[in-house]
Symmetry: C2
Subunit: 491 residues, 2 copies
Amino acid sequence: MSKEITSRHQDYAQWYNDLVLKGELADYSAVRGCMVIKPYGFALWENMRDALDKMFKDTGHVNAYFPLFIPKSFLSKEAAHVEGFAKECAVVTHYRLKNDPNGGGVIVDPEAKLEEELIVRPTSETIIWSTYKDWIQSYRDLPLLINQWANVVRWEMRTRLFLRTAEFLWQEGHTAHATREEAIEETEKMLNVYATFVEEYMAVPVIKGVKTASERFAGAEDTYCIEALMQDGKALQAGTSHFLGQNFAKAFDVKFLNNANQQEYVWATSWGVSTRLVGALVMAHSDDQGLVLPPKIAPLQVVIVPIYKGDEQKAQIDTKVKEIIEHLKNLGVRVKYDDNNNNRPGWKFAEYEMKGVPVRLALGARDLENNVIEVARRDTKEKKTVGLDGIAQYVSGLLIEIQYNLFEKAKTYRDTHITQANTWDEFEKLLDEKGGFIAAHWDGTAETEEAIKEKTKATIRCIPLDNLKEDGKCILTGKPSTQRVLFARAY
Amino acid sequence: MSKEITSRHQDYAQWYNDLVLKGELADYSAVRGCMVIKPYGFALWENMRDALDKMFKDTGHVNAYFPLFIPKSFLSKEAAHVEGFAKECAVVTHYRLKNDPNGGGVIVDPEAKLEEELIVRPTSETIIWSTYKDWIQSYRDLPLLINQWANVVRWEMRTRLFLRTAEFLWQEGHTAHATREEAIEETEKMLNVYATFVEEYMAVPVIKGVKTASERFAGAEDTYCIEALMQDGKALQAGTSHFLGQNFAKAFDVKFLNNANQQEYVWATSWGVSTRLVGALVMAHSDDQGLVLPPKIAPLQVVIVPIYKGDEQKAQIDTKVKEIIEHLKNLGVRVKYDDNNNNRPGWKFAEYEMKGVPVRLALGARDLENNVIEVARRDTKEKKTVGLDGIAQYVSGLLIEIQYNLFEKAKTYRDTHITQANTWDEFEKLLDEKGGFIAAHWDGTAETEEAIKEKTKATIRCIPLDNLKEDGKCILTGKPSTQRVLFARAY
């Protein structure tokens, strides 16, 4: 496969696909809409998963595992939920194949039809709340703070690697509480966990907000979200945390004896992030030469390439590199020595640039004589000759600087792409010419929201949590409004 | 729920179920044959998974993720494979539900029928080898050493928590090699990884061997296995590693250019262990008071229970316990302080005994005066008063001793339950009265193997790798045999 990448300027969507495929993060599969996550992409996801998992555990959550299948009738129990999730899903109707009597391989055995169809989980509120009914009797059983790492399936018609696939990997937290206040507190706490993770590990700045009623999770009373901005000026929802009220407790009859000895319905939250975050990461930082990965979650943080002629030079370089690697590993750095002699140094440089490895070290015989090494950072493409003494410490510090720089760069871009619009013309012009988030007044009705979406494909991404109150007029209808909301075209 | 456990003697199967349910490892679910893995059970699985994952990575493997669904036609491509796996499986036939026009909730939309049905993976050889075709061109692309952690579904008719469930969690390694020898070496290497894990972490001794032709994985040239012995004298297959020859490469046309510049089919292995191991762990060590968990993988290694009257005593104990916990954590020990004042110490003792926590410390006001603490080990139920100075070091050493003791105890039981039988009468009598592995001569035919299974329900568990050659006569047919094989009734 050619390592040529389409430039962002030329075709942003193709640039993204090139990065995912040629950067070896994922591949298409033989199953419509499902992707294969390749080892390099999976290592990235593992780093993200492990960091999140630790944050969940540090905030008192435990992991569990619930069934892949949901009985069809369960989906119907919560009225809004079924509208949102029962439509495009994978339906298991039979449990056996048999040999085709006409010799055409195997066919579905018509006698093995399930009495009730099973849905491959698109999300697990229903199966989990049907279980919680058995686990919760009294206030002493609360709160229940459970998370699950799992695969889910939504039969999307138009799919894109990582961003929208029929099957994807995610985590879903499902918590149960004795009071409304405690559940809301949990919803906000987990939103903050997500924001911290995306900003500190992925180096992607986010805006915390709440969704409008029409963008809410099906079955939620309130959906909180974090919204990020991609380099093409489109927004991407990076995580959601839902306050579910007592909706699922009522649907599955989950009551508890409160400390006043009365039966009461349990309060719920759910929250999730998925492999979609990998897509966000790619689009937030990468450039026309390939992936740019933040050091904290990069599968490989440093690669070392030897430059030599003959075995003698190679042996000398090997000795020094071995020493550097030992120091780097002691500092917790993920490092690889690529001394494969099938490929030339230039080929390797391009390869690791494509893969987004944050720091590349190149060591030649002349460098060794001068007690120096060449250090190249992926983010700025800056190259520098650095003394070999204390090189591990230097690189370790550089990784921190790169992480910081990526965040600052993305934040500057994001901050300069939040623009106020005060008239409809301004709004349309900004959307088409500048992109990004547009802060504008809206009259608060679903009709206007829908009309704006129809006209421009822009949606209300969120009402920021730290929003200022400000009187104004709706950009479309001119009706009165008390605050600006953030519009954008989105993934 | 009552914490009473049926004794092993009374009803072994019920004892096992009691432990799994009352020890809070798992629960039944609303979906036939699928279980819910509860937080305590999942924490145990996480410890097992993490230890295995590290061993896989240390032997050069990387993780990836392949689709949940397998097109029906893929299963038919390898003749033996389809016979083994296409029969009892979950079949997705539709991709949409719609509102019932007659108002009966949601129904399957007949217009959303898939052109080709999708099978929920029972194992992933087919989808993975269809992908490897695109990834492998030359010997430089080999070996490919990939593992996947995933859920799989096999529509079992009779299910038991952990031991046999319709959906279960597992890992499946799928490797590709340039030569037959290298693939066989990999098959054996991973069998050894499994044996090391089960013996050193789970403290369960295993016998390494190969399966007879009729017990082989569907599509394998050779299936290696590790076999463990449960306390009721029944065997349990704890892991398998398959040498697949070129069967899947031929089925999916996966060839590579070898270093002599010729096209050749790729050689394959696959290997897996599953949540079934949790069932094996429970049955190997537990007793009539509850679970007994090996320290290395126990979610909680030490629990500390305070015994006090009044706030002043409590405060003094708290201070000391805080210090002990800090020391234990520094030594890497997983410890919990249970000072919940809703439950009395006696209740807590029974609870942690049920949960199999390896070490329990109880600290009272009098103990504090005497500078001692009560240490109770779960494995031997021995209680001892130990000086408080250096208690963390003592406990840390005790955990190692318990791990060792559990293995030795299980090994002694296992070793005394490998018995030679030289006649059919002896064979039947041993099976019914003693159980365990029976080393007996077999004429090497599938017919005899089947006949013995029909008569006794015993199967050939394996031909041990370190088997001695010895001339003898088949216990059933009297025909000549060159070695003994291990028979047992099995899970």
